[in-house]
């Protein structure tokens, strides 16, 4: 099946979407988005919901793309850029749906809330040296995490690292956005990296101690 819509150059796409050929160009773009989203989602959503989701996302993406035509810099093919936006639209909504009933508090590790006694202190038998090294390191790193990170950074990091919540969903719950949250987490990691260095420790040494039996 010949498809001349895919042969438009970037300039033609922009001109057609803005000019008298607008209706046809929009119809062609919608069809491209629908096809692309189908392949982007076919292995990722239940098959009985696929077509409806693809149609909804294609419509939302179309609006987003038309609103943002001015930001297309022409560094890729127009279709690649449009599919990128469609995937972002789709994933944002899929994540929102999947995590909608889960709060950040739900994702805190259980042992965060109560006292945690290292097994070594409750075990009867002898104390192997390796376990002692490990216990001391665990206590030290725990203290650094408490001292160096703000409560907000800690909460977000636990939701991501322990709870597996997408950045975007953590950001929604903290009234920020994914980009700002990435920067907040980067800052948190850098703080810990500096503090470990100030304590004379490399992350590799810490991880080796954690692996002591």
């Amino acid at each position: 099946m010949a498809d001349k819509t895919r042969d438009r150059t970037n300039e033609e796409w922009l001109a057609d979407l803005r000019g008298p050929e607008r209706d046809q160009a929009i119809a062609d773009l919608r069809e491209n988005l629908t096809r692309g989203l189908f392949f982007a989602l076919v292995n990722r959503v239940p098959s009985n919901k696929l077509d409806a989701l693809v149609d909804d996302f294609a419509q939302d993406a179309l609006i987003r793309i038309l609103d943002n035509l001015d930001t297309f810099r022409g560094e890729s093919r127009f279709n690649t850029w449009a599919q990128k936006i469609a995937v972002r639209v789709a994933y944002t909504e899929l994540r929102r749906q999947r995590w909608k009933d889960i709060s950040l508090e739900d994702l805190l590790p259980e042992d965060v809330q109560g006292d945690f006694t290292p097994a070594i202190l409750t075990d009867a038998g002898p104390t192997p040296e390796g376990q002692m090294i490990r216990t001391r390191m665990v206590e030290l790193v725990n203290r650094l995490v408490m001292e160096e990170l703000t409560e907000r950074q800690r909460k977000a990091m636990l939701a991501i690292v322990y709870g597996g919540m997408p950045l975007e969903e953590v950001a929604r719950r903290l009234d920020t956005n994914r980009n700002a949250l990435y920067k907040l987490m980067h800052d948190a990691r850098q703080r810990l990296q500096k503090r470990l260095a100030a304590e004379g420790l490399s992350p590799e040494e810490v991880l080796a101690a954690f692996d002591e039996q």
Binding site: G36, E75, P109, P203
Partner: protein
């Protein structure tokens, strides 16, 4: 607050390869269409766009979207 050794280990693992010049999700997204075309053309992205590649390794949200984009572009080629 006491965190379990498993959680602390995951945090330290992320700290271990932290670098000062990481790009953010928005910067990654800006370059993602061009980056996807580079990947599909078989170019070495480690050299061409090391910071985008680095971000995709760290950020699951961006990585998932990139993989879905590749699936879509590959099928449409």
């Amino acid at each position: 607050m006491n965190l379990s050794p498993e959680v602390l280990k995951k945090i330290v693992t992320r700290v271990a390869n932290t670098r000062p010049d990481e790009i953010s999700c928005a910067e990654c997204f800006d370059e993602l269409d061009e980056f996807a075309e580079l990947v599909l053309s078989g170019k070495s992205v480690d050299e061409a766009r090391p910071l985008v590649q680095d971000h995709l390794k760290r950020c699951k949200d961006c990585r998932e979207e990139f993989e879905a984009l590749l699936d879509s572009l590959t099928a449409l080629q």
